[in-house]
């Protein structure tokens, strides 16, 4: 269990992490999602006592990180695959970590075996590929057999086989009742692994919701219609009792899967249709829309492709914690 309360980090004027309050529960994979620069890594570093919070508090199993006796036995973290001395062998890298926390050296062999690096244990880490470095970092996280595991962007730069391996590892660790907290900037990746979602943007909490809820709220299916005779079409659909949302000059959208019915209605009334297409809003779009206002580095090309007609990105302000709820109400 990791608990954050009003966690804040300021660098001069810039607020990197803004009053974050949430907790990470055991037995599930919690995804920590946000665009680049949202403050994910800073938050994780504060959890590990590496960065000092400007305000607020973070506790691991009720204790401050630096109060933990042998912290690797409580929480294992992969922060950066390259956070190791390249001249040291994989075995010695893990051995020095193990010794500092009173972990027997036999455990080093075990975790090397778990991550599949036994054959290169005596090799220097600088010769490792990104994937191997990532595996070594994960071996370090697993070293103390901790109840809490934290991974910062673990799939970055991995090949499909490595990604598959990490996904299954995280699920297996959660299934053993451990707390698994994993950050990513890819919604699609989280959709495959996480049971719970914490979304931040510009350091603020945007959502704290279960993955199932998030999918239910966001996998909106609708029909997109383009017609030169838009006004007449609107009347026809309206009198047929179909709710229509106007999206753009020529485009209309209708929630639900009513494409056949709309096509038949248009034919009856001799209306020209240029497009009649069932659409599915992706989770990625939903995520981008959620964070659109908080993305730090915009590519100025019209912003995120938003499924038009959906409620506007939530306005800022409500108290943290209720943010996700407010957002969910807005969507339903």
């Amino acid at each position: 269990m990791i608990e954050l309360e009003g966690l804040t980090k300021r660098y001069g004027e810039k607020v990197a992490v803004n009053h974050l309050t949430f907790s990470v529960r055991p037995g599930i994979v919690t995804g920590f999602l946000g665009p680049n620069g949202a403050g994910k890594s800073t938050t994780m570093r504060m959890m590990l006592g590496l960065d000092r919070p400007t305000a607020g508090d973070v506790r691991i199993d009720g204790q401050h990180y630096d109060r933990l006796k042998d912290p690797l036995k409580y929480i294992g973290a992969l922060l950066d695959a390259k956070a190791m001395h390249g001249g040291r062998s994989a075995f010695n890298h893990l051995l020095c970590l193990a010794q500092s926390n009173g972990i027997p050296s036999s455990r080093v062999h075990e975790v090397l075996d778990t991550v599949g690096l036994t054959s290169v244990a005596k090799k220097k880490a600088k010769g490792f590929s990104l994937g191997m470095g990532q595996r070594l970092g994960i071996a370090g996280a697993l070293l103390g057999d901790p109840r809490i595991l934290m991974f910062d962007e673990p799939v970055n730069g991995l090949d499909p086989e490595g990604i598959h391996w990490i996904r299954n590892l995280m699920k297996a660790l959660a299934a053993e009742g451990r707390t698994v907290f994993v950050s990513s900037h890819l919604m699609s990746e989280m959709a495959l692994t996480a049971d719970h979602l914490v979304v931040i943007g510009q350091g603020r909490l945007l959502a704290d919701t279960s993955m199932a809820d998030f999918i239910e709220q966001n996998s909106r299916s609708y029909v997109r219609i383009r017609s030169p005779q838009r006004e007449r079409l609107l009347d026809v659909l309206h009198s047929a009792g179909i709710t229509v949302v106007q999206a753009g000059a020529e485009t209309l959208e209708v929630d639900g899967g009513k494409a056949e019915r709309i096509g038949e209605l248009a034919a009856q009334h001799h209306l020209v249709l240029h497009e009649l297409s069932p659409q599915q809003a992706s989770l990625e779009e939903a995520f981008m829309q959620l964070t659109a206002e908080s993305v730090e580095y915009h590519a100025h090309s019209g912003g995120a492709p938003s499924p038009a007609g959906a409620p506007a990105a939530p306005s800022p302000a409500p108290a943290p914690g209720q943010w996700g709820d407010g957002w969910k109400e807005g969507r339903s």
């Binding site: 570093r45 190791m84 500092s100």
Partner: protein, 256 residues
């Protein structure tokens, strides 16, 4: 978490990187070989020396002539032991494993200083005996007054140089910046300040000049240095303590 665990861990760290071997090896080889070479040259040119030079000739200090160059390798050792953590990113992994930063730094210092002292003792004795063998008729013996103190002092000097470098590297974090300041300081600036008469009085309070007094047995004739061998070492210890305190305070306060 106990200090013993962290010390074991730091020992594993220091023995498992190549830079430890080559920096300490170079410090020993350069100090010993250069000391022996200069001792041999002096013996061969004895007849050319002035009367004054002969009177104030210090066979012990002469055999330590390689120290001025050998200490540069010791500086590299001290800087790399600390700054490697930062330049490789290992520091985040290290501090996540050992969040008590005071214990972390102290353990690192104990291990590195212990190792530097062992290398220093071996180097110092080897440089002395080899140097004396080269000096032949002009040599001194380990049993003469002040000689053993000077030889053990040589080992202490090397250890303190390494510790000072570790303190500076703890403050600056970057290996290039640390070496870029320490190398010219010890190799050039300190020597220049010590040689120019106007700055001599300041120069002799610099860590290396004060500290190297411990390796002298014969006091130069026109000596007006206001401290003795142990006084000089104490001045050097004060510099080292200041550097380490600065390193500790910054490590404690900074984000990793």
């Amino acid at each position: 978490m106990t200090a013993a665990q962290v010390i074991r861990s730091e020992w594993t760290k220091i023995r498992s990187v190549a830079s430890t071997v080559w920096t300490l090896g170079l410090a020993a080889v350069v100090t010993i070989a250069l000391g022996a070479l200069i001792s041999l040259l002096l013996k061969n040119q004895w007849s050319d020396l002035s009367e004054k030079d002969r009177l104030s000739f210090d066979p012990t200090y002469t055999s330590f002539a390689g120290m001025s160059l050998g200490q540069l390798a010791m500086i590299v050792f001290g800087v790399l032991v600390v700054s490697n953590e930062y330049s490789t990113g290992m520091i985040r992994t290290s501090l996540a494993a050992v969040p008590q930063r005071g214990t972390f730094l102290a353990s690192k210092l104990v291990v590195a200083a212990g190792l530097a002292f062992v290398v220093g003792v071996v180097t110092s004795f080897a440089a002395f005996f080899l140097g004396q063998a080269m000096l032949g008729d002009h040599s001194t013996s380990i049993g003469d007054p002040g000689v053993l103190r000077a030889v053990i002092g040589g080992a202490l000097y090397m250890t303190l140089i390494a510790l000072f470098s570790m303190g500076v590297a703890s403050m600056l974090r970057s290996p290039m910046l640390s070496l870029g300041i320490l190398m010219p300081f010890f190799f050039l600036i300190s020597n220049i300040l010590g040689a120019v008469s106007a700055t001599k009085k300041i120069g002799r309070y610099l860590p290396d000049q004060a500290g190297s007094k411990i390796m002298q047995v014969v006091t130069p004739i026109d000596n007006d240095t206001p401290y003795g061998p142990w006084g000089g070492l104490a001045i050097m210890v004060a510099w080292v303590a200041a550097a380490l305190l600065g390193g500790y305070v910054l490590l404690k306060r900074r984000d990793a």
